[in-house]
Chain length 339, copies 2
């Protein structure tokens, strides 16, 4: 006996006359009260949110008062929410932030990784320099964890461990925002070493909706939510890193959309003008499909007007090109999955 | 109304306590007479074989007499079947081959692409050199097409077009080996610019079985099939390129397995000692899952004895590591899909 995927096909990869590959997945669009506005697939099944919930993981940085104490600006808050591109400007900003809290790049426990931007990675290669933890696309998020630990006078060593107060604060914020007790949720380790917990898409979307519509939150958290979403809009280039989809959608739809994709085909959005949150997971983990599915949801919800959708055609239905640069296919949403 | 994937789950990605992602797909194991020995999913649905059928695409190179005429050796035949790594040695071999037929790198129409081996790509960056078409992992296959065109006195320009005699010969060989008229099969363009045609996995596996068990083929084609499979075994490092799975399986199981993966989650094998062919497609196009599924099929068929399977544990169930290098999960076959 074998099992098929329980999830519907959301995205197809067309090549020439034929669909070559397809991607199944599930998504939920939810308001701050937890009402499901739109959904496909099993939205109760736990999913690791990976980097798609960096905006939620940044809540303690602001609401502990650490951000205020260390005079962190829009740029640092955006870096905490970013999968940054590892360019010299970004690396310098994270290093300056660490210096400002009395720490150094060696205190980062995210692991050294090459910049995800190709030109920045190649510049390092040409200079015969090894990547440092600063280049890791998560170094801003980690600087945020270190900031709360320093501010609270905690040991910074081991700040990535599930038992460290920095991660306890993140888990408490996630539990509160999702409305779930995540203490016993299935867990694992993220690419950057911090804990990941399984969260149903419906609850993940609700947490994003509460960021988008924080009126029902305690005053400090509501202020933190607003500050985080404002920073994401103001510094969307930092947040997006090398994700062309994320960058272009936030450029064109900045007033209505705060977007953050994560590894393994997860993507989340907060829609402040409508008080909605979106969470989606492509079952096979493909980021190319997560982008296309998120685009289709935003169009379906009316977050992008026809002119905006037209301007974004190249990322909503991205062409597939061959090595010589000719268009030989496209990624496209399956219309029936977004009605 | 929405549609789920019709294919069974073949491979899971585990992270910590939970399956994070899964991959659906289909496969067929077939003998030279077309009898299905083992199968899962829809094996009648057309699939683009991409680079997984390079050994079949190399048939005209040998059976036209071009390989003999230009005194091509084991290395060149292996290059024609390879997704090579673009290292200096391989690039020099393709360039020498082109020189030997009176052509130059500029005659390649596959497009310039960076070497897929990281060290080779970084060496180019350090030397401030742009990649050339020689570095394209398909340049050996293209040198093969150019060789048949030169040998037959055809124009070499446009040798990647579906109407060029070089591609007509490939399509004729594929039709004959699959037992299908592929003239009206759904078609498109491969990453390297040549035509791709949709072939059901069952027919693709049969074509691989005929390579493995060529007794029923015309003498010239049978000789070509043996020469191609021998070259793949002798120069498996060239064929495998940077695919650790392909390299290790052919290293350990060289006597029994000839393996070639392709883009978008396709993989093919010829099993000469057993006269079988294998073709598989991961529905979402993930190569990581194609490797794991192919490994499970080879174990199921007894192609790898327990000692060999133990030696290959690291590629049959590859660990998932975080950036710091710690194991945080694994890719694994779903046992029920390989019974």
């Amino acid at each position: 006996m074998t099992w098929s995927s329980p999830e519907p096909i959301l995205v197809e990869a067309l090549r020439g006359e034929m669909v070559e590959s397809h991607h199944c997945g599930a998504y939920a669009v939810v308001d701050a009260a937890g009402r499901v506005v739109l959904a496909q697939g099993d939205v109760e099944h736990p999913v690791y949110a990976r980097s798609a919930i960096k905006p939620l993981q940044a809540l303690p940085l602001v609401e502990t008062g650490a951000a205020e104490h260390y005079r962190l600006g829009v740029k640092e808050i955006a870096l905490a929410c970013a999968s940054h591109n590892g360019t010299p400007a970004v690396v310098a900003a994270v290093e300056a932030w660490l210096n400002g809290i009395g720490l150094a790049p060696d205190d980062l426990e995210c692991g050294a990784d090459a910049p995800i931007e190709q030109a920045a990675a190649q510049a390092l290669v040409r200079a015969r320099q090894s990547p440092s933890p600063l280049h890791n696309n998560c170094s801003g998020k980690h600087a945020g964890f270190l900031s709360t630990a320093r501010y609270r006078g905690e040991s910074t060593r081991g700040y990535i461990d599930a038992g460290h107060p920095a991660q306890r604060r993140v888990l408490a914020a996630l539990s509160s925002m999702t409305g779930l007790d995540l203490e016993r949720a299935p867990h694992g380790t993220d690419g950057c070493g911090i804990p990941v917990v399984g969260i149903p898409l419906k609850a993940m979307a609700r947490a994003m909706a509460r960021l988008a519509d924080p009126a029902g939150l305690a005053a400090e958290r509501a202020a933190a939510a607003r500050r985080i979403l404002d920073a994401m809009a103001a510094e969307f280039l930092i947040v997006a890193g090398t994700s062309r989809f994320t960058r272009e959608v936030m450029r064109v739809g900045a007033a209505t959309v705060r977007l953050k994709p994560g590894a393994e085909g997860v993507s989340c959005a907060a829609l402040p003008q409508h008080g909605l949150g979106v969470a989606l997971k492509i079952s096979d983990g493909a980021g190319r499909a997560a982008d296309v599915a998120m685009g289709a949801i935003l169009v379906r919800l009316g977050m992008l007007d026809p002119a905006q959708a037209a301007a974004l055609e190249g990322v909503l239905r991205p062409p597939i090109k061959n090595i010589a640069g000719h268009v030989v296919g496209e990624l496209r949403p399956v219309p029936a999955a977004f009605r």
